[in-house]
Amino acid sequence: MKQAQAPTLQDKRTFREFINDGRTQRVLVIILFMLLPMALLITFTYLPFVNMVQFSFTNCTYTNPGKFVGLKNYIDVFSRDDIFGTLIVSVYYMAGSLVQLALSLFFATMMVFGAKGSSIFKACMFFPYLICGIAVGFIFKFFYYRDGVLDTILHLVGVQNCPLWLENKSINNIALTATSVWRYTGQNMVMFLGAMMSVDTSLYEAADLDGANKGQQFRYIIMPSIRTIIVLNMILSISGSLSAFEPPYVITNGAFGTGTFFVVMNRIAHENNKVGLASAMAVFLLALIILVTIFQKVFFKYFFKGSEEDTNRPCKDQLRAEKLIAKKAQKGA
């Protein structure tokens, strides 16, 4: 019969032993290291968020605490055309993020299949991501100006009648979305490239022997392997497109129908001083982003279903067998 190793209830350990015990030490270390980040997180994110939710139920301003108005701000968010209607502009940015996804997958695949000078291309394409959003806004402001960079280039190649890129309502949102795509395609590409590197190259050789062309290799080998990264990217891009702010704010200040939800929220908070309504808009945006993210996760679960088996998780029978073994071991001891 073996001696019991674990301490029983009769064994009273001293405080010293308790502190010195490896398990306690681990827990202590975890708690102490988390203390500072948690304190910062709570002070600068969670507490202000709780405050903001409180503000959204009042009609306060920056200097006047205001009084409780219940759900009036939320009703305003839904019923006002100039607020709710800005979500239509977000659709442009969502379409832009799909284009971004396609472009970055295309470029990443080209690099994986071996392109000359790929490291230079990688560096050049990634560079826009490093530039601050406001600076990108200013670059494109002068790019799209009447007789600015774009107009000059088009004149050089012989196109005389350039439309007003920022005023013409049918193309100004596309122009602004293009700046966003320009900025983020490189970063997406590098992310996909990293994920694609993990695919076993012998798979490509096997597919070549079987007669698959590059397109089929992409669809059946690469896509399934990096599906987690693709889903992650889609979620981030679509949430980002709902809260697009820098391109419209810097380039047109929301004029000519380019104002997104965020731009209008900023104007209501800072120019009309209606902090309560702006807080309600912010909470609504958060709820919308959460909803869209959940929708996307469900959508992709069904979209990718059957194209890959989770080889990491053991099947149910195996789990049951392991449980039985563990129980027998306990009884026997």
Partner: protein
């Protein structure tokens, strides 16, 4: 040994944290009583308070001249009062940043009062400078930052509202007298377009804040009524047409028609503010709607300062012309600064507005009522330069409340006027439709705040 070191380390860190918390208490011993800090009119600059040692920190929005002109004032004052050092700090995005800084109470000593501080909050942030009667006798625009009979902020002079224009271009086009009604103005712009190469009216649309300059004209300039800014909250449909080309409607009629008749620049979304100043100086632009402060900037922008003129907004009310004079940003002194700093700040303030060259440099109506008027106002002869009256007692914040509730944006949101330009460009709404919408917003706000509508 290791335990000893770790305990000592923890103690050291705790002590540094405590030290960092304690360092600020020196400054926040504010809340001095009015008995210790004098009234502005009682200070004799050059004689009183020679023994105070203090560093006065002034926050300003003039990022362009803070290191040159403003530093010149600080140095000149330092010669007079060697014990007082004045430091300027320029803040970009002034109106948004200063509001947040004010809430900390430790932002410095003198600043320009932002529009976001409403009148009933003035006593919370700034010390009194004197009673209203005393200040009004000596200074212009004393009512601007007065609450409850006490003045908390003294405006840095004022400006009449009008239109900057290039005299040479207007003469070339064949115009010999300045227009007096909106239709005359529009006809003059057409003459300029036909007879010269200049852009008749440059809106500076892309800069955003330049659209907000049109708000200055909707009160006194458009109606001749000094009380209109207060009574507008009681008006039914204040933006509707009055039939005689006066009132806010006439102001926006001028803008809308100028845009829809093509009398502005080709691409409003691509305007360049910094280019427009030398351009109007050279005669490439004929007119711009800007406040009086812009005259000095346009004159200095290029080689023809003598061509820059300033005309009142073309509206005539019953045969009389009016022009709104509004005060600039107002200086005010931090209530939470130490007493010495407050007194030093007061002395500097009095010196700045009475004895320095600030009004010659800024070329605006000076703070003192007996100060010298700038000479570019020659076109304003015969025009009544009136200020908007202070709000009557009990209704001090009513205008701001209705304005914000309606999101009418008067004085604080330029995108509302930008919307007028956009609708005129693509013809999506007529001016009457826009004004009807604004009236509806105004009415809703009046109802929400239970304001009596009796005009």
């Amino acid at each position: 040994m290791k335990k000893l070191i770790s305990i000592l380390l923890v103690l050291a860190m705790a002590l540094t944290l405590a030290a960092c918390g304690g360092g600020n208490t020196g400054k926040t011993e504010g809340g001095t009583t009015a008995a210790e800090v004098p009234a502005l009119k009682d200070i004799k600059v050059g004689e009183d308070y020679q023994d105070i040692t203090a560093t006065v920190k002034v926050l300003t929005d003039r990022t362009d001249i803070v290191d040159t002109v403003y530093k010149g004032y600080a140095d000149a004052f330092h010669e007079l009062y060697p014990n007082i050092t004045v430091e300027y700090e320029a803040v970009t995005d002034y109106s948004e940043s200063i509001t947040m800084r004010l809430t900390t109470g430790q932002w410095g000593d003198i600043c320009f009062v932002p529009a976001s501080v409403s009148k009933d909050q003035l006593p919370d942030y700034f010390i009194p400078l004197g009673s209203f009667e005393d200040m009004d006798a000596v200074y212009n625009f004393a009512s601007d930052k007065a609450y409850d009979g006490v003045v908390h902020g003294i405006p840095n002079g004022g400006n009449p509202a009008g239109i900057v224009y290039n005299k040479r271009v207007w003469k070339e086009a064949g115009i010999d007298k300045i227009p007096t009604t909106p239709d005359e103005f529009l006809e003059d712009l057409k003459l300029i377009q036909d007879n010269t190469d200049a852009i008749p009216l440059y809106t500076n649309f892309a800069a955003g804040w330049t659209m907000g300059q049109w708000w200055d004209h909707i009160f006194v300039s458009a109606t001749g009524d000094q009380d209109f800014r207060n009574s507008i909250v009681h008006y039914k449909d204040p933006f509707a047409s009055r039939g005689d080309m006066t009132g806010p409607y006439a102001v926006f009629y001028t803008l809308y028609e100028a845009v829809s008749r093509g009398l502005i620049e080709e691409a409003p979304s691509s305007t360049d503010w910094e280019w427009s100043k030398p351009a109007i100086n050279r005669g490439e632009i004929a007119a711009m709607v800007l406040g009086g402060w812009a005259v000095a900037q346009c004159q200095e922008a290029d080689a023809h300062p003598e061509d820059i003129g300033y005309m009142p907004f073309p509206i005539t009310v019953d045969g009389v012309r009016y022009a709104t004079s509004s005060s600039n940003y107002a200086f005010a002194i931090n209530k939470k600064a130490s007493t010495d700093n407050q007194i030093a700040a007061m002395v500097y303030l009095k010196w700045l507005i009475e004895e320095s060259t600030i009004y010659q440099d800024e070329k605006c109506i000076p703070a003192r009522k007996d100060g010298e008027m700038p000479d570019f106002l020659s076109d304003f002869e015969g025009v009544n330069l009136l200020t908007n009256n202070a709000a009557p007692a009990g209704e001090e914040t009513l205008f701001d409340d209705v304005n914000n509730e309606a999101e009418a944006g008067i004085y604080n949101d330029d995108s509302v006027i930008a919307g007028v330009v956009e609708c005129a460009l693509d013809g999506s709404k007529t001016l009457d439709e826009i004004m009807t919408e604004w009236n509806a917003k105004w009415t809703r706000a009046q109802e929400a705040l239970s304001v009596e509508v009796n005009q």
